[in-house]
């Protein structure tokens, strides 16, 4: 059930993200990666890979994969790999989540990881389009997205975690801690 819940959360966050206003320098609040990072903390590695696949697929299907003159600028699947790599880093801090320090880890890591995600996307399109352009606005945009992710992440974490606990989708903290020993 936790996986269905998290896939639905990924799906709805992707739709909701479309209505969030842009930030300075054209930066955006990226909700789907934030939901995925919560998932990466909440589930074991095989589950994280499964959710990286679903999240990355949705991201590619709606946002990242653009058709240019009959060819794909970025192939379907690259975002899945990015999600999996960044999710693996987040998943490494799962013991802290199980000890009840989940939101702090989610908040601290979401910013840098989302900045890496956005930078990786930029590097891919730069490689594809040519011209190694890195004006100041690019760095400001990447930085703002990381900052926005850190600001929004506690709310995303609390909503997802509260719902998961309320529906009994993840065990309470005591049980999670006991499972570590």
């Amino acid at each position: 059930m936790i996986y269905i819940y998290l896939i639905l959360a990924e799906f709805f966050s992707l739709a909701f993200q479309e209505y969030l206003p842009p930030l300075p320098y054209g930066a955006r609040v990226l909700l789907l990666p934030l939901v995925f990072f919560y998932a990466a903390l909440a589930v074991p590695p095989p589950g994280m890979l499964f959710l990286a696949f679903t999240g990355g697929f949705m991201w590619d299907a709606l946002i990242a994969t653009q058709m240019v003159d009959g060819t794909l600028e970025i192939s379907l699947g690259w975002s899945i790999i990015l999600f999996a790599v960044l999710g693996a880093i987040m998943n490494g801090f799962r013991p802290l989540f199980q000890r009840g320090h989940g939101w702090e880890m989610h908040c601290l890591l979401s910013g840098p990881l989302i900045s890496i995600f956005v930078l990786s996307e930029y590097l891919m399109i730069t490689f594809r389009r040519g011209g190694f352009l890195f004006p100041k606005i690019i760095w400001l945009r990447i930085g703002w997205e990381g900052l926005a992710a850190m600001i929004v992440s506690p709310f995303v974490f609390l909503v997802l975690h509260w719902l998961a606990l309320s529906f009994g989708l993840i065990p309470p903290r005591e049980e999670r801690e006991a499972s570590l020993e």
Partner: protein
């Protein structure tokens, strides 16, 4: 590594490799299906957003609405009459072209569409609109408003489609400059967004003496955009070692448009 993790990684890699092997056509079909699934949600969200904005802006007075309604009816009648006249002229023009053994020009069909979502990505400038293949929309069809060019359709689902805006680096439009023989290519820049569109007109002659305020129109070359649609106005002209480059301000405010027209049936 535990055995189950190794198996999960192996399955994951196999699935990703399968996705990498998808042809562009299959990828586009898959994107269209996913857009079709998420489109109802986006449409409802868009309606809700409009209701909230409408509530915040307050209701217009009844007499104001009545007056506006009358004005719009008069305007509609005038436009219908103009449209009929133009259709007659188009038929006559085609007849004359046939007589001169020119290729017949097909008339455009405009499909009105409402924007249901604006670009949520960092590096791509796109919008989603509420018309798709059920309304006769196909990929690579021009999208415009009464003010000028907006972009072109890319992924088309049954009930929605994605529009690549002209401020995106990937959306190139062959263009001409009003009052000159200059031809070039307009496209966005990598840092361009709908809120801060940054268009450049490239491949101009170094001797082109362009002045700020000159209109830039689509030239019709390339087969996607029809000729004569206003793209924007020249803001600045710079001479570079190999070519002249003009900075162009888009004719349409891409960050605030709500309704667009998709050119179908003869747009190409």
């Amino acid at each position: 590594m535990r055995q189950i993790n190794a198996i999960a990684v192996a399955i994951f890699l196999v699935l990703v490799v399968v996705l990498f092997a998808f042809t562009p056509r299959n990828t586009q079909m898959m994107q269209a299906r996913f857009l079709g699934v998420i489109a109802p949600l986006l449409k409802n969200g868009s309606s809700l957003q409009k209701q909230i904005v409408g509530f915040r802006e307050g209701m217009k007075k009844l007499d104001e609405l009545d007056a506006e309604n009358k004005e719009l009816r008069i305007e509609l009648s005038a436009l219908k009459a103009t449209d009929q006249t133009l259709q007659g002229l188009a038929a006559e023009n085609n007849q004359l072209r046939r007589a001169l053994q020119y290729r017949e020009r097909s008339t455009f069909k405009l499909v009105p569409a409402r924007i249901i979502a604006r670009d949520a990505s960092t590096w791509w400038s796109t919008i989603k609109v509420d018309k798709g293949s059920n309304d006769g929309v196909l990929p690579d069809q021009p999208v415009l408003t009464e003010e000028g060019l907006v972009g072109k359709t890319t992924v088309v689902a049954g009930n929605a489609c994605t529009v690549l805006l002209i401020c995106d680096e990937n959306c190139g439009v062959a263009a001409t400059v009003e009052g000159t023989m200059e031809r070039g290519m307009v496209h966005g820049t990598r840092t361009s967004t709908a809120a801060a569109p940054d268009l450049v007109l490239e491949f101009l002659s170094k001797l082109a003496d362009l002045k700020p305020g000159q209109n830039v129109f689509s030239s019709g070359l390339g087969g996607v955009f029809p000729a004569g649609v206003l793209v924007g106005k020249v803001k600045r002209f710079d001479v570079q070692p190999l070519q002249g480059i003009a900075t162009v301000v888009p004719a349409v405010d891409l960050s605030s448009i709500e309704d667009v027209f998709i050119v179908t049936g003869g747009g190409k």
